[in-house]
Structure formats: C-alpha cells, structure tokens
C-alpha cells in the first residue's frame, strides 16, 4: 500500500515541480524563447527569410511530386489540392521541428543544466515557444493565401487556436521526455531523427486518409495517430468545414495520447533530473 502511494506521490511531486518552475519563470521563459528565435535566424545572410523559404520549397517539392509527377491530387472538398496540402502541412512543419528540436533541446542548452541552477523543465517550453512564434506567422500567411485564392475565412477557423494549443501542449510533453532521455545518450536523438520521416509519411499529410476508409483497420490506426489528428484538425478549420466536437472520438484518442505523453515526461523527469547534470558535464 505504501509503495503505491509513494509511486503516485513521486509523479505528483514531479508534476508540481514542473508547474512551479513554469509559473515562477514566465518572463524568463519568454525572454529565452525570443533569444532562441533570434539565435536560429540571425547569423545567416538571409536571416529571417529562411523561416519562409524552407516551407515554400518543401511545399513546392511535395506538390510537384504528387500533383505533377504522380498525377494525383485532385480537388478536396472543392479546394485545390495545393491549398489542401498547405493547410495540413503547416502544422507538420511545427511538429517536425518540435519532434527533432525537442529531442535536442536539453543538449543544446546544457550550460543551463550544468553551469547554473536553472529550472530544467522550462527548457523544452521556451525552445518550443520560439518555434511557435514562427508557426503563428506562417499560419497567418496561410489564411491570407486562402483569402487571395478566393476562399475567405469561415466560421470554422475559430477553432484553430484550440488545435494549436493542443499541438503545443502535446509536443511540450514530448520535448521534456525526449530531451531528458537524449541528454543521457545521443543514440536516442538519432533514433528519433530516423523515425521523423516515417511519421511524416504515415500521417496522411500528403495523401488524404479518407482514401483508405474502405479498409477500416488501416483507417482507425491512422485516426489513432496524434500527428494525423493535428493535421486534420487544421484541415477541419480551413477546408473540411467540420467542428472538433463533431469528431469526439478523435479528440478522445488525442487526449489519451496527451495523458500518456504527459506521464512519460513526468517519469523521465523524476528519474533523470538528478542524473543529467552528471552526464552532460
């Protein structure tokens, strides 16, 4: 009985530490995220332009391969394929960066761990936050692109912040877990990087998962994927015209994943927090 309560207490302690470190350091987190952002884009001659060039090149290449090369990519819901692609791939750019960047965040900021007493749980938060700033700018650009193309914002766009927040929270938990584990060994970071591509192709970002509806097993497996949930959430806002509460099961799956990832990050934190300063030295 004691063992069980100690087990729950260790998770609760980890959770309260996490919350306390965040609330006590809100201004610091913002400052470091801005610094992180500057760091990413200054030092190159084109600087900020890369925040835009990279996604545009990516989108063009994917569109070219799918629509021109494979002769796929018909209209979806009356929207041209390119627009359908853009609104689903935008969150993926964030997620992809958060998956790999989150894995490296504690290594990247090792001086905060080994050289001073810094609230370690906020490192994933500020690195992700800096990526979120870029994501928000690009999202606004996408809304404008839709508008210019003749598709003004609909009422469904109102639910976009919900998906953005869910995405941010989920990958924060991921980054805390992955950052801590990869601080123990670089192997984990390499593992994640090699699986990042797999996640991309398995998440129905380039192809419409509605196309596999005829095989229910594959379809429901796809629906279990949290990355798919976010991408199709964005598409709900831009092209599908669907409310999040019209797909309650998808939301539940996602929240289940979030709970799981949250527990995983707390587990990593309580197990590794005291060990990583010795390893990163």
């Amino acid at each position: 009985m004691n063992k069980i309560s100690a087990f729950f207490k260790s998770y609760a302690d980890s959770f309260t530490t996490n919350m306390r470190e965040h609330f006590e350091n809100i201004p610091q987190v913002f400052k470091l995220s801005v610094a992180d952002l500057k760091k990413t884009y200054t030092g190159a001659a084109l600087g900020w332009a890369w925040a835009v060039i990279k996604p545009i090149v990516n989108i063009f290449v994917y569109w070219f391969a799918i629509a021109i090369g494979l002769r796929q990519g018909g209209d979806v819901n009356g929207y041209p394929y390119i627009l359908w692609l853009i609104c689903g791939i935008i969150p993926w750019f964030y997620m992809s960066e958060a998956i790999t960047g989150g894995t490296d965040c504690i290594r990247k900021y090792s001086y905060l761990v080994t050289k001073m007493k810094y609230p370690v749980t906020t490192i994933p938060t500020f690195t992700n936050l800096s990526k979120l700033f870029v994501h928000l700018l690009i999202t606004i650009a996408v809304v404008l692109i839709f508008w210019i193309a003749g598709y003004p914002p609909t009422i469904y766009l109102l639910q976009l912040p919900l998906y953005t927040i869910l995405m941010f929270l989920f990958f924060n938990a991921w980054a805390l877990f992955a950052g801590l584990v990869s601080a123990m060994s670089k192997d984990f970071s390499n593992l994640v990087k090699s699986f990042n591509v797999a996640v991309f192709w398995l998440s129905g970002i380039l192809w419409n998962i509605e196309n596999v509806k005829d095989s229910p097993v594959v379809y429901s497996l796809m629906m279990l994927n949290p990355v798919t949930f976010i991408c199709y959430g964005y598409r709900n806002c831009f092209v599908n015209g669907t409310w999040f509460f019209e797909q309650p099961m998808r939301l539940c799956y996602f929240l289940g994943w979030y709970l799981f990832m949250g527990l995983l990050s707390l587990w990593a934190h309580k197990k590794l927090r005291k060990e990583i300063p010795d390893v990163l030295m």
Binding site: P27, Q28, K31, L32, A35, K38, K39, G43, Y111, L112, V113, T114, K115, M116, K117, Y118, V181, M184, S185, K186, D187, F188, K271, L272, R273, K274, E275, P277, D278, V279
Partner: protein, 245 residues
Amino acid sequence: MSDVVIKFQDVSKVYKLYSSTRKRLLGVFIKKIKYKKKNAVDNMSFEIQRGDSVALFGKNGAGKSTVLKMITGVAFPTSGEITVNGRVSALLELTSGFDQEMTGRENIYLKGHILGLKDNEIKSLENTIVEFSELNDYIDQPVRTYSSGMKARLGFAINVNIKPEILIVDEALSVGDAAFRTKCQKKINELIHSENITLLFVTHQMAVAEEFCKRGIVMKDGKIEFDGPVHEASEFYKKMYAIKK
C-alpha cells in the same frame, strides 16, 4: 550571531559509470544493466557559518568540485541532505557558463534573472559589471567571439557584482593576466571583509588560500581528512602529499 548557511548531512554522491553511452541509454529503461559506481563524495558532514571563509584542499578527483556543484544546486546528492541558505554565486569554470550566441550584456541579464534579480536591480549593477570586466565595446558582441580571458573576466565580473551571499571560487583566479588577477583578489578580499559573505575557495596555490581563508578542509577520496584552521590544514595537506610522493 552565527547562523549556518551551508549544511551537509551524511551526503554521498555516486556517479554511475557505464561502459558505453548505449549501455547508459538502456540503463534508463532497464534496471539490470550493469555499471560501475564511483563514490565521488562519501558520507560527508560539515557545517559552514555565515561569514566563514573556507578553503577546500585535495588532489584532482578528491571530490572538491562535486561538493561545490552540489552547493550550487547544479548536481544532486545520491543520499543525505544539503541545506543552503542564501544566494549562491559560483565561479565554476568561468569560461563556459554563457550562452555563446548572446552578447555579453544579454548574458549579464540572463545570469541575473536566473539568480533571482529583477530587471531594475540588474540595470543598476550593469555598469559596474561592464566596467569591472574591462570589456568596453566587446560587451555588445556575441560571447562566442570572446577569448577565454575575456569570458573569464566577464564571468568573474558578473558573479562578484551581483551581491552574492555565498561565493564559490573554483580555481577561477588562475585565469586572466596578472593585473586582472590582482584586481579579482582585491575584490574578493573586499567582499569577505565588508559584506559578510561566505566564501568557499578551491585552489592548489596554498599561499592564495591562506590569504583569503580562515578555515581549511582537506579532502581525500570523497572524505574529509582534516577540518580546522587554514594553516594547519595546508600543513596537513602538504604532509599528506609529501608522504605519497
């Protein structure tokens, strides 16, 4: 009035040494993975009062740095309890505790915030720090462009000027040129004598230690071998070392 600012109670620190990083990663998930244990600090207990100045002696690997890291709050003990009351300013490896891409000035703010100072407090200290570091125009350049001497100067300037209550100096005075070294020693002396701070000092230069400190602790293999007045401690250390020789 003497109050205890640092208290170690049966503190031990065990480093886990795995044969490879792969093993270490597996060790996170599987308890059975074997590793060697290195007892860096072995059941240490001591107290340091406010205003004390303590020198830590010991050969490389005796556990001095581990003790300092645990006081700073960077490393954690494997068992035992550590109590630290007061703002700790640590001069540990002066050249590396910076964000390389930020400018010197931004780093001043970063360190200040982490140590719990408010914006206006840091602002009032900013000029003193810049002046003390003698970096002049370089203060607005990214730290990665600094030479190691410049980093050390900035690190020292920040740490001694942010009104520390406990100052930890780990071999820091061996960097920089003679003039700056003298300036640092003067500043430390000033801090000990006027502001009633607690000093923890690690060095291999006995003379410097004897100048600054009243008390000396000699460590060997993570244990305290001697704890007493600094002169006796340095004698003890010299003798211990001589016998080994």
